[in-house]
């Protein structure tokens, strides 16, 4: 067997049903790697954000004085935590494709969105001749806000720009919108706009819900780990329950959570590979499946997939370690 990556420049000849960057069947295996890497990262990113938010909510609910909130959270955590993740993802997928209407009678949602078994079709923003520049301007102005805020704090010139600059950029963006491209039913499917396929929705739902149960337990443990005196001190200062939670307890608990949260983020990223079971075209489905089969390069494709997952996860844990060091209490 000769080991080599020359096949990466060969033409693939197959379709990747969901892609965030352009893809055609004439593209190479190398391009396919990029396309499905982005699909993996997209699922992981959405899953991590949604899972963290939901987990936070469940964790706080778990300690709530309200019986209903407390019990509901407990029930969700126990059910989700004790059933296989793959099963949950398939469950969401099956539920979705069974429950949603066919494209010809898709549900019209506010804002021109349409929900059908083919996914969530949303209008896309067409910028006309301006292209992406207004968006870049907006991002740049948002990045500059801290700088201008610093100027404002020191009562320097241009301090006024802190709140105004993003607002101006937003107006520019809105003005340069050429039109909204609404999805319309043509032939078999919706044409125009952007579509979030049901595979992505089911995968993200399965991943984030699963992770949220573990995050909830981490949040609960961390909150309980904060000395009781902190809460008492907060209430003696006249802070309300919510104020005490967000201003005193959570900031301290957050520090304890970070290492465990990192584990959860890494787990979720690896679990995106379960998307292969529900036809979500991520790294494992395309590379360890289609590409392996078409090229017979078992060793190379597996090696690539492993290296990439290793890379993503090292990046995540590296970032979390940096953040952890930043928020750690500086002891003298």
């Amino acid at each position: 067997m000769n080991f080599g990556f020359a096949f990466l420049s060969q033409r693939t000849g197959f379709d990747i049903p969901f892609h965030v960057v352009p893809w055609s069947t004439a593209d190479s295996y190398g391009r396919a790697l990029w396309v499905c890497l982005l699909n993996t990262l997209l699922a992981a990113a959405i899953g991590i954000v949604l899972g963290s938010l939901l987990g936070f909510l469940l964790g706080v609910m778990r300690l709530s004085a309200n019986w209903l909130a407390r019990s509901l959270s407990l029930a969700i955590i126990e059910i989700v935590r004790n059933t296989p993740q793959l099963l949950q993802i398939i469950f969401w997928y099956v539920v979705m494709i069974q429950a949603l209407p066919p494209p010809r009678n898709g549900l019209a949602l506010p804002g021109g969105m349409i929900l059908s078994v083919r996914g969530l079709n949303m209008p896309s923003i067409e910028m006309g001749t301006a292209g992406l520049w207004p968006f870049l301007l907006l991002v740049a102005s948002l990045c500059l806000v801290p700088v201008f805020r610093g100027l404002r704090r020191r009562r320097r010139v241009f301090g006024w720009a802190a709140p105004l600059l993003p607002a101006i950029a937003l107006v520019v963006v809105l003005l340069s919108v050429d039109h909204l491209d609404y999805p319309t039913l043509r032939g078999f499917n919706y044409v125009g706009g952007v579509v979030v396929p049901p595979e992505l929705i089911a995968l993200v739902a399965g991943l984030s819900l699963y992770m949220s149960a573990f995050v909830a337990e981490i949040v609960r443990a961390s909150l309980q780990g904060i000395a009781k005196g902190q809460r008492e001190a907060a209430s003696s200062l006249g802070l309300s329950g919510a104020q005490a939670l967000f201003l005193v307890i959570l900031p301290q608990a957050l520090r304890v959570m970070i290492p465990q949260l990192t584990n959860q983020y890494l787990n979720l990223t690896k679990s995106t590979s379960l998307g292969a079971a529900i036809a979500y075209p991520e790294l494992v489905q395309i590379y360890a499946g289609t590409v392996l089969n078409q090229t017979g390069r078992a060793l190379e494709t597996m090696f690539l997939v492993m290296i990439i997952f290793l890379g993503i996860n090292l990046a995540i844990s590296g970032f979390m370690a940096w953040y952890n060091a930043r928020v750690a209490i500086v002891e003298r």
Binding site: G13, F14, D15, P17, T25, V94, I97, Q98, P102, P103, V117, R118, R186, G187, F188, N189, V191, P198, E199, A276, A277, I278, A279, P281, Q285, A288, G289, T290, L292, N293, Q294, T295, G296, A298
Partner: protein
């Protein structure tokens, strides 16, 4: 005297030498796979995870289908018992790796024999046991009459197969774009098509007929007339074991020859008892001992194949005939009846 003795020695040595030279000819009938199967007492046969017609389990868990019949035929030939098969259900994705790794002795899993699989995957294509072509099945309610009208449609299919390549090529050739949604297992793809996630399902013509039969209301679905590719489905072995390949190939030939000569599971005994004079018939029924030795098998191997599974036509009828999937013989008929199935001479 001494010269005579020397001569005798020389002659004896020459005889021994010839004998020794003759030995490898005998030893050539050696196959690592055959030895392993015999030692294990069981054939590891890679089949589909479940598709009517080719390989599926009935309500009692018994494996059935065209490909399964081939596994049984090989076990009958090699081990003398068609039941001594361990069926390994493999997905399109892992099938070749499982074969290469030696986990199975033979892969009979409605797999297309292609150039790449022969040359790049180091597999040995043995024989075509089913001639198919890629076809589409769509809901009748879509009112589509031809696959050329599928522009913009989404089609569910299996991943890691020739299917997705064919679809892309077909779309390019006809100036249309057909989207494909790829699944690991047939049942997942069927379910997604049924639920309307896709506009249709695509697979080899035999498998599409099978897929249609598993739908809740098969009558809601129609198979489009176009066949967009050639899919010669058949048997794969690992490369490098020629003798084992011979056994597999000739098992297929025996099934075809039996149909050609009108030998069935039911009348095989009768014909055998009547002591046929036709040399082909004698070889087919294992009455010519020397003939079978060439394969490293005993004389009755071919007879056991017929007794275990019948001839090719019988197997086809059982799983694809009117009482099963209702797929016309077409190209899978014998060459004598206008089809493509042509057995090499048993000579």
């Amino acid at each position: 005297m001494t010269s005579l003795r020397k001569l005798a020695y020389a002659a004896a040595l020459a005889v021994c030498g010839l004998g020794a030279a003759g030995l490898p000819a005998e030893a050539q009938v050696k196959s690592a796979t055959l030895d392993a199967v015999k030692k294990r007492g069981e054939l590891n046969c890679g089949v589909d995870t479940g598709i009517p017609g080719f390989a599926f389990q009935d309500s009692t868990g018994k494996w059935k289908g065209l490909d399964v019949a081939y596994c049984r035929a090989i076990a009958a030939a090699v081990l003398g018992d068609a039941e001594k098969v361990k069926y390994v259900g493999v997905t399109t994705k892992v099938r070749f790796t499982v074969l290469q790794s030696g986990e199975i002795d033979v892969l009979i899993r409605d797999s297309t024999l292609t150039f790449t699989r022969d040359t790049q995957l180091n597999l040995s294509p043995i024989a075509v046991n089913f001639y198919a072509g890629q076809a589409f099945m769509v809901k009748k309610s879509l009112k589509v009459a031809s696959s050329k009208e599928l522009n913009g449609a989404t089609i569910c299919m299996l991943t890691g197969a020739t299917l997705e390549l064919n679809i892309a090529d077909y779309g390019a050739a006809n100036g249309i774009k057909i989207n494909s949604l790829l699944f690991d297992k047939p049942e997942e793809a069927f379910a997604a098509a049924e639920a309307g996630r896709c506009d249709g399902y695509s697979d080899d013509s035999g498998s599409v007929a099978a897929a249609r039969s598993t739908m809740k209301t098969p009558d809601d679905w129609m198979i489009l007339p176009e066949i967009i590719s050639k899919e010669p489905l058949g048997i794969f072995a690992r490369e490098g074991d020629e003798k084992w390949g011979d056994i597999l190939k000739w098992t297929h030939m025996i099934l075809l020859t039996a149909e050609e000569m009108g030998v069935t599971k039911a009348n095989a005994d009768q014909i055998k008892a009547s002591k046929p004079v036709d040399p082909f018939m004698q070889r087919l029924l294992g009455l010519d001992e020397d003939f079978s030795k060439q394969l490293g098998l005993d004389g009755a191997w071919s007879y056991r194949i017929i007794k275990a599974v019948g001839n090719y036509g019988e197997i086809y009828d059982e799983y694809f005939g009117p009482k099963a999937l209702g797929l016309p013989r077409g190209t899978n008929n014998l060459w004598t009846k206008g089809g493509l199935q042509y057995a090499l001479p048993l000579r």
